[in-house]
Symmetry: C2
Subunit: 440 residues, 2 copies
């Protein structure tokens, strides 16, 4: 099967056989397909799409390009949650300890900040000493002891995706539902879980700008995960304004701990509880939504969640005292307030703008190689729908001696829109996408 | 302008600015664009197309990627003819000497055999001593003395196309009207001509399988050439069966000389005269079709055409005696006849099949690096519409000690279809595509 014939077939809108897709992934992994043929095929896939079969085959071939982890001897099914990327989304730091405290094994593999969206690994690394590079044995030990590991993807997992993603990034072939599906799901399937909660975000701050696009991606992810034997459920959530108040690594860790202590913003709390309850059901800890919800709220109220987070930190080499002493986290005293341009009601606080402002201050990065400043970021002081007075505080920027401040202020000003009437924001959770076979 | 942004714009169906296209071609020529970004953009162009403006800008940028030849001090406008590739098409060897004999300067740059189609350079090189690698000064001298040079493309011309074509060939991005247009027209514009006759072929043996596709390509070529100041006219011709009788390098040289002596097959003679007359008008030698046609037929009848061909051969280091002594050309005594499967009328003699058979015998090549055997090929003994008896001769194969013979025989058998009624083939010339501004 020559590469050029395979590219031609997809270019002309034909389906690719399972053998053809295996040959492609084998060529990507072994290096026998040159970059220029891979990128031509990727663009043809952006154009013509992949069927559900092709997407499942691609995902499966990518899983088999590397190691597949396996956690045996656990009382419940190991589960994970994945979000398509948002601004101020620190729910992983809340729901993973909560679900683990309730008995669900959570071997969570997360990513890094890129562009205007944050990354769980960077947030965790703002905790002094915290190590995210655990190997399979260390993850297994963590599951057996504290019930959860919060780690980065190991090199052994889905090497094909690393080459494909690097190429997609520079050839404008990222935006493709089947390619996104195969990239996300191959890594999740390879990490050895049996259940997956997906948080597919939509809105101005999300990768999927419209709800229809988000639903299409969610359906593809759920179908592909289910076919591969991973029970997968997705919720569609709004990402118009930042989630919660804090945007930036250490700032978000503080807000996550506050949430675990029952003092977090309503949106962060409710989304975390919802996702954690979903994980309990996928893990087989509970069988009804009501019972799962009750158990998660119990762990929140009892302090079991925050205690589990402290144990996770300790288990991964971090300073567990941060849970009670936020001064142990990186911080900066440099603060700049951005106020409302006029009095009225905050109509819009664009998540992408605030995310880009935090990135400009150093909280994020453009390229995965870049460093981040864990202390800097933004705190949202007024939410869409709130009344504001002229010059009244909307966003507080925490900067490092003015680095990137002018750009950040301009971005936040651009993100703010004040109107004359109070327009309530749309609900956070817009819907659920479940596999039709799960509840016959 | 980042490459990835340019790829994304085309992927999303947006037009590219002239600056963007210049940046792309500059990146191709200088090597600053990596192969994988070039191929991704090429696939996006196959998908989204290019507007007439974009096509003209791309062509112009490609012309400027290298040298543009210039022939001054000629009595008439230098002209050339280009065909999109056929089987048995030796008209260049006939019309170039004819047009030159009538006073049109013909600096003809041709290509090599590839796939099932023949190449003028390979045919010429079957003449002992004939050199096709003339530089600009030698071409200018040839125009001043014999009126014609039959050469290959010099390295100085359109270097961008060499890199682009090599990539298109292996990434299934050849089949795109704007990319074909820019590739063909940039090279023709850079060779310093003022007029161009195009022979756009359509049919089973052609690159463009349908007449509609051929007309679309012809319109794009004519519009792009005219915008660049090269008067361009196209005829659409049928390529269902081989043109004339001979298929293969030395065999076609013999048929071309026979045609110049007035003894050629009717289709080769008529197409050559038609194209040569077109060249005379584009060169400004004649102003009416009737006068141009008369003058070309005069050069044919007087022997001026065959004498000019002999002088061209001599001028380029070849043995001019081949014109009267075909035994001086490479030949083989090994002959195999392929007969009709049954009696009736020949309904089809598929040009591509016969071309592939000649290639299997060694007359052509798969890759431009491959060598060819100048002696081998095929002679068509019955034409579509002819009555044939069972086992009666249809194609004669000239092979080299059986090399590739089994495959060639199978291909020819597959190419032959005999029916019960005489179906006359469609006319050779199907239409003309001219620029609307030329005859207001």
């Amino acid at each position: 099967m020559r590469a050029v014939d395979l590219i031609r077939a997809k270019r002309d809108g034909h389906g690719l056989s399972r053998d053809a897709i295996n040959a492609f992934v084998e060529g990507v992994t072994s290096g026998t397909w040159p970059d220029y043929q891979i990128s031509a095929l990727l663009m043809a896939v952006v154009w013509r799409g992949l069927s559900a079969d092709e997407t499942a085959w691609l995902t499966d071939a990518m899983v088999h390009s590397g190691a597949r982890l396996r956690f045996d001897g656990l009382a419940h099914v190991p589960v994970d949650k994945h979000s398509t990327g948002g601004v101020g989304d620190k729910t992983s730091l809340v729901l993973a300890p909560l679900a683990a405290a309730c008995g669900a094994p959570v071997p969570m593999m997360s990513g890094r900040a890129l562009g205007h969206t944050g990354g769980t690994l960077d947030k965790l690394e703002s905790i002094p000493g915290f190590r995210v590079d655990l190997d399979e044995a260390a993850i297994a030990r963590a599951l057996a002891t504290v019930g959860c590991a919060l780690v980065g993807q190991t090199d052994a997992i889905v090497p094909a995706d690393r080459r494909l993603y690097a190429l997609r990034d520079v050839t404008a072939t990222v935006e493709s539902v089947p390619l996104i599906t195969a990239s996300i799901m191959s890594k999740k399937i390879a990490e050895g879980i049996g259940g997956l909660m997906l948080d597919v975000k939509t809105g101005t701050g999300a990768f999927m700008k419209t709800e229809a696009e988000a639903r299409r991606l969610a359906a593809s992810l759920v179908a592909t995960g289910t076919r591969a034997g991973v029970c997968t459920e997705a919720i569609i959530t709004a990402m118009d304004a930042p989630l919660g108040s804090a945007v930036g690594n250490a700032l978000e860790v503080v807000e996550a701990i506050e949430t675990l202590k029952g003092r977090g913003p309503g949106d962060v709390t409710e989304l975390s509880v919802r996702l954690a309850a979903g994980l309990l059901m996928l893990a087989g800890v509970e069988v009804t939504h009501a019972a799962a919800d009750r158990r998660v709220r119990g762990a929140l109220a009892s302090g079991a969640g925050v205690e589990t987070f402290a144990r996770i930190i300790e288990n991964q080499g971090g300073d567990r005292r941060v849970v009670d002493d936020y001064a142990r986290l990186p911080q900066t005293a440099d603060v700049e307030l951005v106020g409302a341009p006029r009095g009225g009601y905050l109509e819009r606080l664009d998540a992408e703008g605030v995310g880009r402002a935090a990135m400009a201050l150093g909280a994020g990065r453009d390229r995965l190689e870049g460093a981040v400043d864990h202390a800097v970021g933004a705190r949202v002081l007024a939410r869409p729908g709130d009344a504001v007075r002229a010059g009244g505080p909307v966003v507080e920027l925490r900067h490092r001696a003015g680095r990137g401040l002018a750009a950040a202020v301009a971005l936040v000003r651009e993100a703010i829109e004040v109107g004359d009437t109070a327009v309530p924001p749309r609900p956070l959770v817009l819907g659920t996408v479940d596999h039709p076979d799960r509840h016959p």
